[in-house]
């Protein structure tokens, strides 16, 4: 088997709320996992178990309190815990993508440019990136008349598909998916499943939260169970 693209050792996360009297909320401690190319790991556990917190910690959107997040990046292994901001941004540009539940809408930027941006950031020429963005938007059934508009007024399902297109366009070796199909109808859900399966076939390693059983069964190779309170006790 090839080397893992992502290896997590002893990862810990506790929120300390200074504004609320300094109370501490331990979320998890001692998380270990390894992910190989083409593999899909589904995080499971009740609401509040820390699934999204784990994903955000892996993406360095949250500050990990301890442990290591080792990523294969530009031919070496980089520990994202404690890495320089510009190293983390380079990992996000080239190696690790994250599709959040909701699209963060940038004012006034056309949908096709929002989708093309991650590909442009990897050095692909603007026109080629926009072409690729349009192809993905078409595949995700976003009507062509919307491509040149900013997505602020789009429906929840349309915004989620724009977000998915943005997450898939650059072909990251590691992809974090937080409920990518939550507000999609059955037809669009099937399209997203296809996209994930194709990415896996190309060697992308996926960690995801999929509440939808059909989606999870179709794409996950393994489950990772997070139990709330157990580690905190």
């Amino acid at each position: 088997m090839r080397n893992p693209v992502l290896e997590i050792h002893d990862l810990a996360k506790t929120f300390r709320l200074h504004v609320q009297g300094g109370i501490e909320i331990p979320v998890f401690d001692g998380i270990d996992l390894a992910l190989h190319p083409g593999e899909c790991l589904a995080l499971v556990g009740a609401s509040g178990a820390g699934k999204s917190t784990l994903m955000r910690s892996i993406y360095a959107n949250y500050h990990a309190n301890g442990g290591r997040i080792l990523v294969q990046h530009r031919g070496t292994v980089v520990d994202m815990v404690g890495a320089e901001p510009r190293t983390i941004l380079d990992i996000r540009r080239r190696t690790m993508g994250y599709v959040s539940q909701f699209l963060r809408v940038v004012p006034r930027v056309a949908t096709e440019e929002i989708v093309a941006e991650p590909l442009r950031m990897t050095g692909v020429e603007a026109a080629a990136a926009t072409d690729r963005a349009r192809a993905l938007l078409a595949r995700l059934a976003i009507p062509e008349r919307l491509w040149s508009l900013a997505p602020a007024t789009f429906s929840g399902g349309e915004q989620q598909r724009v977000n998915i297109a943005r997450g898939f366009i650059a072909g990251y070796p590691i992809l974090l998916l937080d409920e990518p199909t939550a507000s999609l109808d059955a037809a669009n859900r099937r399209i997203v499943i296809e996209l994930i399966l194709e990415a896996k076939a190309r060697g992308t390693a996926v960690i995801g939260i999929f509440h939808d059983r059909e989606v999870r069964d179709a794409i996950a190779d393994r489950l990772f169970d997070l139990k709330p309170g157990e580690l905190a006790a």
Binding site: H18, V19, R56, A60, P85, R108, V109
Partner: protein, 258 residues
């Protein structure tokens, strides 16, 4: 990554009498990187920016800039003319108040073209066509090139300032509350424009603001200041979404969610 930082700051301190404006600030700024500095009024943000841009001499500490000719050089060890040359060519400063950054009695075109002449442009036709191009890039009707900025709205004046600073292709841009005093709809437009221009020109920038939305959109990295000191420093989205210091938590939690 073997490149050099464009700005290297160590132990920067500025006192006014016994009052600390900023104390012991250290960081490296890398080419193409945007650093945000946030904190409430009186936190020392503007003094820090004035020291960094060589407008105010620090009481202690060093600021080194990666000059094209000689590599990293202590900015305050340079001669006054050399320092002024940097300000007119390699650096750009966008002031909070456009009145501090523009000649209000000179046409918009003259304001934008002046810095081009500072870097050696002499051909009137070329200068004018480049000025027209930049007015267009900052979304100002090119028909107003000969009008004075004091006949423009605040948002337009701010865009003229941005064009004036970017036309000479600076390597380092200082922005002091670039959206302060503008209507919210005008702010969004200016921010989006700045975001695109900074990304497309690859200029490194330091932006001082009390508006967390501005840094969320523009800055790669964030410093939170309080009482003249940096209390937290890290990746912008990490500091905003998971602040560690008590003051950063207070700052972030004080923002109304809309």
């Amino acid at each position: 990554m073997t490149e050099r930082p464009i700005l290297r700051v160590r132990g920067l301190t500025r006192l006014y009498g016994r009052t600390v404006a900023c104390r012991n600030v250290s960081f490296d700024l890398w080419p193409g990187e945007v650093l945000g500095v946030v904190g409430e009024s009186g936190a020392g943000k503007t003094t820090l920016l004035k020291c960094l841009s060589a407008q105010v001499e620090p009481t202690d500490g060093t600021i080194e800039y990666d000059t094209r000719a000689d590599g990293l050089v202590d900015v305050f060890a340079l001669s006054e003319p050399a320092r002024r040359m940097l300000l007119r060519t390699d650096w750009g400063i966008v002031h909070q108040n456009p009145r501090d950054g523009l000649h209000m009695g000179v046409s918009a075109g003259g304001n934008v073209g002046e810095r081009l002449m500072a870097v050696g442009a002499r051909h009137y036709g070329n200068i004018r066509s480049e000025v027209l191009d930049w007015l267009d890039r900052v979304e100002i009707d090119t028909g107003r090139i000969d009008d004075r900025p004091d006949t423009f709205s605040g948002g337009m004046q701010q865009r003229v300032q941005i064009a004036r600073n970017l036309i000479s292709r600076p390597r380092l841009l200082f922005l002091d509350e670039p959206t302060g005093g503008l209507d919210v709809s005008v702010q969004a437009r200016l921010l989006d424009l700045l975001r695109q221009l900074v990304a497309s020109t690859g200029v490194a920038a330091i932006v001082v603001t009390h508006d967390l939305g501005v840094v969320r959109l523009l800055a790669h990295r964030l410093m939170v200041m309080r009482g003249g000191e940096v209390v937290e420093h890290g990746l912008t989205d990490q500091v905003l979404d998971d602040p560690q210091h008590a003051y950063s938590q207070l700052l972030v939690s004080s923002i109304l969610q809309v």
